[in-house]
């Protein structure tokens, strides 16, 4: 019962290119952001919030852009190169930041991302400065495509990648490792006393979240055709956290639900209230936090609980609901 609506939404999204072709690119961008938000949600499971994950988004986007520019660029290799770069940088930065928690964790991530942002602007001859780098359209299995065809392929690619990433992350969070990650939020001391290194556990989650942000960034780069330092700015990191809370930080679905709603609100706010689109977004955020801190997916769970009764007692075997789904 409670999976009917999600299934319907996925179906509806999947036929978008036929029904509403003009929203196809918007949805691709929403998927790209959703993937990055998924990375934020992984960290939120450990009770940590990063105000600098735009770093991985940007690292991957710039690497993808460079690969597409210098090697002619096949879509798959472009995306893979970006994700790999984000994961490697995530590992290096992660080793350092997993020693910190809460505000310090958030601030250090912010600092590292701002350094990268400044470097992108400084190393003008490599990065194109604030004008950014153009990303030539990659080939797909060797074929050079027109924009329309490419965008359709990218849309379905993004949809499949998002579903895969959501499934993988869901499994990860349900696995022993994922449960240990969530245990960091409630009791690190006990985790250490079970023989588990909280830092290594957090590091594994951190690298995963960096890779997810990277996947989002690389997708965004090829979908947009340009990468700019704005990809790394702190406001974008804040936006990711914003979307995570909007969608519901407790479930992997929240990342994509949030991203779709956010892009929608933002686009229409920018179109019909171009003077006050920031204010509109700010108010939406306030309303969500104060009246439904578990986000849209949390509201949906509550609604379904009321309509068809509680899912069933929470247990370790509960695979239908996302782990740690906000109550």
């Amino acid at each position: 019962m409670r999976s009917i609506l999600p299934a319907l939404i996925v179906l509806l999204v999947a036929v978008t290119p036929v029904l509403a072709p003009t929203s196809q690119v918007l949805l691709t961008l929403a998927f790209a952001k959703g993937l990055a938000v998924l990375g934020i949600i992984v960290l939120l499971q450990a009770g940590q919030v990063s105000f600098g994950h735009a770093l991985y988004f940007a690292v991957s986007a710039y690497v993808a852009a460079s690969v597409a520019r210098s090697f002619g660029g096949e879509l798959v290799t472009t995306l893979l190169a970006g994700v790999a770069a984000a994961a490697v940088v995530g590992l290096v930065v992660g080793v350092f930041v997993v020693r910190y928690r809460y505000i310090f964790f958030a601030m250090l991530n912010l600092a590292v991302s701002m350094i990268f942002f400044a470097l992108l602007e400084k190393f003008y001859y490599v990065t194109g400065g604030s004008d950014g780098l153009q990303v030539p359209r990659p080939t797909v299995v060797g074929l050079t495509l027109e924009r329309g065809e490419f965008e359709t392929i990218l849309f379905y690619g993004a949809l499949v990648l998002s579903l895969l990433a959501a499934w993988g992350t869901h499994r990860y969070l349900a696995s022993p490792l994922g449960n240990m990650l969530r245990a960091i939020k409630t009791n690190e001391v006990r985790l250490e006393y079970l023989g588990v290194s909280a830092r290594s556990t957090l590091l594994s989650g951190y690298v995963l979240s960096a890779a997810l942000c990277g996947l989002g960034g690389a997708l965004m780069a090829v979908a947009q055709g340009i990468v700019t330092p704005e990809y790394a700015y702190w406001v974008r990191s804040g936006e990711f956290v914003f979307i995570a809370i909007l969608g519901g930080s407790g479930s992997v679905a929240g990342a994509f639900v949030g991203a779709l709603i956010y892009e929608g609100v933002r686009t229409y706010a920018a179109a019909f209230a171009s003077d006050i689109w920031q204010m509109v977004l700010g108010i939406v955020l306030l309303v969500i936090i104060i009246f439904g801190p578990s986000g849209v997916t949390g509201l949906y769970q509550r609604l379904m609980d009321r309509l068809v009764g509680p899912a069933r007692p929470r247990g370790a075997g509960d695979s239908e609901r996302a782990p740690g789904a906000a109550e």
Binding site: S175, N179, M180, R190, L194, G195, D318
Partner: protein, 250 residues
Amino acid sequence: MSSKVLMAAKGLEIRFGGVVAADDVNIEIHEGHNLAIIGPNGAGKTTFLNICTGYLKPHRGSVTFDGRDVTGLAPRRLVRMGVARAFQIPQLFTEHTVIENLLIAAAAQARRWSPLTPIATIPERGEMLHLLDMVRCAHIADRPVSELPEGQRKLIDIALALALKPKLLFMDEPTSGVASSEKFEVLDIIAKALAEAKVTAVFVEHDIGIVERFADEVAVWNRGEVLFRGVPGEILSHPDVIRDVIGETV
């Protein structure tokens, strides 16, 4: 004392600011002999547990386990060698259910890191349900631990330590927070589980009745020092102990 020495502390010293929490502590823990630690509040009992399990590093002295120097090793390294701990304030994963708590411990013990296998399906599940049954908590397996009363949380905390299949278990006031009418029953449960798993226990306890019944040896702490140690019958009737320790704590 002819049995094997499991853990030995030599010349432990630690101070916090001006307060001496351990002052030349020397003590041996023998395999199969459950040791009770008694003493007034602030005597350094928990500090001793913190040092033996790696939470604190002594300023001086050493700890050996199974003949190896383990001074200053992190808790997780000691855990992997077979030293587990239960806490005065139960340390649980409060956003997980009871069985999930235990499954995390089991997965850690069995080193199951596969990121795509749900924890609910690990082979140790049956074992954990049995462990819960042993501590009489099987009926609450699917409850979130945040909803449980203190007594049950205490039991889960100990079960988490047992799930690690330790050789040596430190327990910090296992019956605090448990209604006095249930204390013996609770400790009976624990003792039975310990015996079944062949675990040596070291426990801090205020209740002299419990010490008499469950300890093979008693050590008396005061101001960071071990004042006396011996079999419960002797120690608990020693006039100094009655005056300084039992008189205060009962």
